[in-house]
């Protein structure tokens, strides 16, 4: 079971992700609403896994991913973004993301991605 940082600009999505992670026995240790908060929270919390939205205000998810990977090259990050943004998959993987979950999703898909990232 992992300590997870959940990053999404929508409180609704943070709740949905948190519920999905909790159903798999994971612990949400922090939440962030944009990329800047995500980087700061990562530095502070050093979670075992981070879920990261792409389209966010102030700093988008791909920029935040690059900064997190610069801080911790071993960071485990799962990208989570809307249908139609699959073109970001390759860019995310190049930057170091472990997996990509497309919204809307089933909780099982989130847990599968988390398990894969933690393996």
């Amino acid at each position: 079971m992992a300590r997870v940082l959940v990053v999404d600009d929508a409180a609704f999505m943070r709740k949905v992700l948190g519920d999905a992670l909790a159903s798999g026995g994971h612990q949400v240790v922090g939440e962030a609403g944009n990329g800047a908060e995500a980087v700061a929270s990562y530095q502070q919390l050093r979670p075992e896994l981070t879920t990261l939205d792409i389209t966010m205000p102030e700093k988008d998810g791909l920029t935040a991913l690059a900064e997190i990977m610069a801080i911790d090259p071993a960071a485990r990050v799962v990208m989570c973004s809307a249908l139609g943004q699959e073109s970001k998959v390759l860019e995310s993987i190049k930057l170091g993301a472990k997996d990509f979950v497309v919204k809307p999703f089933q909780p099982a898909r989130v847990l599968e991605a988390v398990s894969k990232a933690l393996a």
Binding site: D9, A10, A11, F12, M13, K15, V16, T55, M56, P57, S81, A82, L83, G84, Q85, S87, K103, P104
Partner: protein, 328 residues
């Protein structure tokens, strides 16, 4: 431009139609069987699309931020917004539990507004993807912003005016909603050019097809000269890229670069296995390869988007040259 160049009105209609189609598909995931699409109306240039805006309308806006400009505003009644949020798993606030305003218990909670914003985000991401297919260029969107609008003037003040606009109606769980698209002239020109380049031979027929005149601000409009055509009509003559895929394999870049002429590359499929048929990048179905009497390849479809075709022989054959006629 060619003699048959797409007009701005046709480009706007197709933009509205492709956007509406993408939005309806996402909405259908949230509220299965409860979504009805209405017509796409291209509003007269320079008019405000916010007329007849009911008090307390819930507006979620998403803008294009890269590649193209323009705004998309999804308008819902408070009842419709609550129904959508509820379908997404957010219960209405209960007076006295801290989630509802005692002064106005009917107000949407923060979590309801967040859910509606997320729905708009997913809808417009899908719509941007559809637009990017037409433009041949990636289109990115901004994070959604959700507001409560009290009157048309405040809507104009917030969203501004655009030279062109479209209005598309939806009904979600019995509540009428409206998508407004504010479209800059440069975007229209690019859309028209892109559609031309997709070899569209017959412009949509929408002239003289008037929108309803008994507008109530949601399901119908009052604009007497707003042209509208059905989504099916708007989309039916768009040419798509269609191709078949025999199989795949993976190899390191170095190995690929060193492949000699005559090399045999094993694919991941048996020779008698079904091949995939792709339409504009989406896997559309599967079937078996045939050779026609003219000596051309064809594919005999066996499944289409997870279903089995119901033609007399259970299959439908599509002739393929390396790509189908009309593709590029």
């Amino acid at each position: 431009m060619s003699q048959n160049a797409v007009t701005p009105r046709e480009a706007l209609t197709r933009l509205g139609a492709s956007t509406a189609e993408a939005i309806a598909q996402v909405l259908e995931m949230f509220v299965p069987g409860e979504v009805q699409r209405g017509e796409v109306s291209v509003l007269p240039d320079g008019t405000t699309p916010f007329t007849n805006l009911p008090f307390g309308a819930v507006a979620t806006s998403v803008s294009y931020v890269d590649g193209v400009t323009g705004a998309n505003i999804f308008l819902m009644t408070p009842v419709g917004a609550r129904a959508l949020a509820s379908a997404m798993g957010v219960a209405p606030p209960v007076p006295g539990d801290g989630t509802a305003s005692e002064a106005a218990p009917q107000e949407l909670s923060e979590l309801e507004l967040s859910a509606i914003g997320e729905a708009a985000n997913q809808m417009m991401a899908a719509a941007a993807n559809a637009t990017s297919v037409v433009l041949g260029q990636e289109v990115e969107i901004s994070p959604p912003e959700t507001r409560i609008l009290d009157d048309p003037d405040s809507a104009v003040e917030i969203y501004g005016r655009a030279p062109h606009s479209t209005s598309t109606t939806f009904v979600i769980s019995g509540e009428a909603c409206r998508l407004i698209q504010l479209v800059p002239s440069a975007f229209v020109v690019r859309m028209a050019r892109a559609i031309d380049e997709l070899s569209m031979e017959q412009p949509a027929s929408g002239e003289g097809n008037q929108a309803g005149s008994a507008g109530d601000g949601w399901g119908k409009r009052n604009d007497h000269d707003a042209g509208s055509i059905s989504l099916h009509e708007a989309l039916s003559d768009i040419n798509l890229r269609v191709w078949a895929e025999l199989g795949r394999t993976r190899m390191p870049l170095g190995q690929a670069l060193e492949l000699p002429l005559g090399a045999v590359v094993d694919l991941d499929r048996a020779s008698d296995a079904a091949v995939d048929l792709f339409v504009n990048g989406l896997r559309f179905g599967q079937g078996h390869l045939l050779v026609t009497d003219d000596g051309e390849w064809a594919i005999c479809l066996e499944t289409v988007a997870g279903t089995v075709p119901t033609t007399p022989h259970g299959v439908r054959a599509l002739a393929l040259e390396n790509q189908m006629k009309g593709s590029d």
